[in-house]
C-alpha cells in the first residue's frame, strides 16, 4: 500500500501526485503541492473516470454529474466525427486523406 498526494488544481480538477521515493512524502507535499493538498492511500482511490474525480471531506470520489457530462461530450464528439467522416467520404476523399483530416 503506497501513499499519494491529492488536491484540487486551478482548473477545478483533481491532481494526483506520485512521489518517486527520492524525498519523503511530507517533503514532496511541501515542495510540489499547493496548500490544501492531503496524503491518502492509493488503495482508496476510485479505479476509473479520473477526470470526474473530486475531493470531498478528505476522500476522493467520482462526481456522477461530472462523469455524465464528460461521457455526453465524448459521445457528441464521436457522433460529429462520424458525420464528418461520411461527408468527406461522399466527396471522394481516400481513407488516408480522411484520417489526416480527422485523425
Amino acid at each position: 500500500m503506497s501513499q499519494v498526494i491529492v488536491y484540487t488544481n486551478n482548473d477545478n480538477k483533481l491532481s494526483i501526485c506520485y512521489p518517486t521515493g527520492e524525498l519523503p512524502i511530507e517533503e514532496v507535499l511541501a515542495k510540489d503541492c499547493p496548500a490544501g493538498a492531503i496524503i491518502v492511500d492509493d488503495s482508496e482511490l476510485p479505479k476509473e473516470d479520473f477526470d470526474a474525480w473530486e475531493l470531498v471531506d478528505g476522500k476522493v470520489v467520482v462526481n456522477e454529474t461530472k462523469k455524465a457530462t464528460i461521457l455526453a461530450k465524448q459521445e457528441f464528439e464521436t457522433t460529429a466525427k462520424q458525420s464528418a467522416l461520411a461527408k468527406l467520404t461522399a466527396l471522394g476523399l481516400t481513407q488516408a486523406e480522411v484520417t489526416a483530416l480527422l485523425g
Partner: protein, 169 residues
C-alpha cells in the same frame, strides 16, 4: 614550508604547485601518470578536477547538488518513466514526484531545480496503442515541466505511459 610523506612511494612530484597546511593543494600541480587511490575532501571543495585520460571509478557525492543532479554538461539532469496513471513505473533520477493533472496531462517535479528554465525536455509515449501519439513538453519552470499526450488530431488528451528525459547545464 615542510612536507612529510610517509610510505614507500618512490617519487611524488608537484611541479609548480604549492602545498599549504591550511589551504591544501592548490591548482597548478600535475600528477602525470600516477593513480589517486582515494581523494578525500572532508570539508573542503574541489572546484575543478581535471583528469583528461584518467578513469574515476566512483565519484561519491553523498550530499550537495551532485547527489541529486548531474553536474556534468551533456548528461541527463533528470529522467523518469511513469505509467498512464502517473505512478512511477521504473526508475527515476532527480524527480521528486509526478503529478497527473487531468487525462494525459502530467507535471514532472524535480528534486533539485534546474539552474534555469531554458533546458531541453525529451519525452515520448510508451503505450503501444498510441502509435500516432503526439507528446508535447511545455510550461518549463526551473522546478518542474509539463508533458502532455495527444492522439491524432483529437482535441482531447489521452493517458499514456511516458518516458521523460531532461538535459540542462
Amino acid at each position: 614550508m615542510s612536507t612529510i610523506i610517509n610510505g614507500t612511494s618512490s617519487a611524488i612530484t608537484f611541479p609548480d604547485s604549492t602545498v599549504q597546511n591550511s589551504a591544501g593543494l592548490t591548482a597548478g600541480g600535475t600528477i602525470a601518470s600516477g593513480t589517486i587511490t582515494a581523494l578525500t575532501a572532508t570539508t573542503g571543495t574541489v572546484t575543478t578536477l581535471t583528469a583528461p585520460t584518467s578513469t574515476i571509478t566512483t565519484l561519491n557525492a553523498p550530499s550537495g547538488v551532485l547527489a541529486t543532479q548531474n553536474g556534468m554538461n551533456g548528461i541527463a539532469s533528470a529522467w523518469v518513466y511513469f505509467d498512464s496513471g502517473g505512478a512511477i513505473a521504473g526508475t527515476a533520477f532527480n524527480v521528486s514526484s509526478v503529478t497527473r493533472n487531468s487525462t494525459g496531462v502530467y507535471t514532472v517535479n524535480f528534486t533539485t531545480a534546474m539552474s534555469s528554465a531554458n533546458y531541453a525536455v525529451i519525452a515520448c509515449a510508451g503505450n503501444s496503442n498510441n502509435s500516432n501519439a503526439m507528446v508535447n513538453a511545455s510550461a518549463n519552470a526551473t522546478g518542474s515541466c509539463q508533458v502532455t499526450c495527444q492522439v491524432g488530431t483529437s482535441a482531447g488528451y489521452q493517458d499514456s505511459s511516458m518516458f521523460v528525459v531532461v538535459h540542462s547545464r
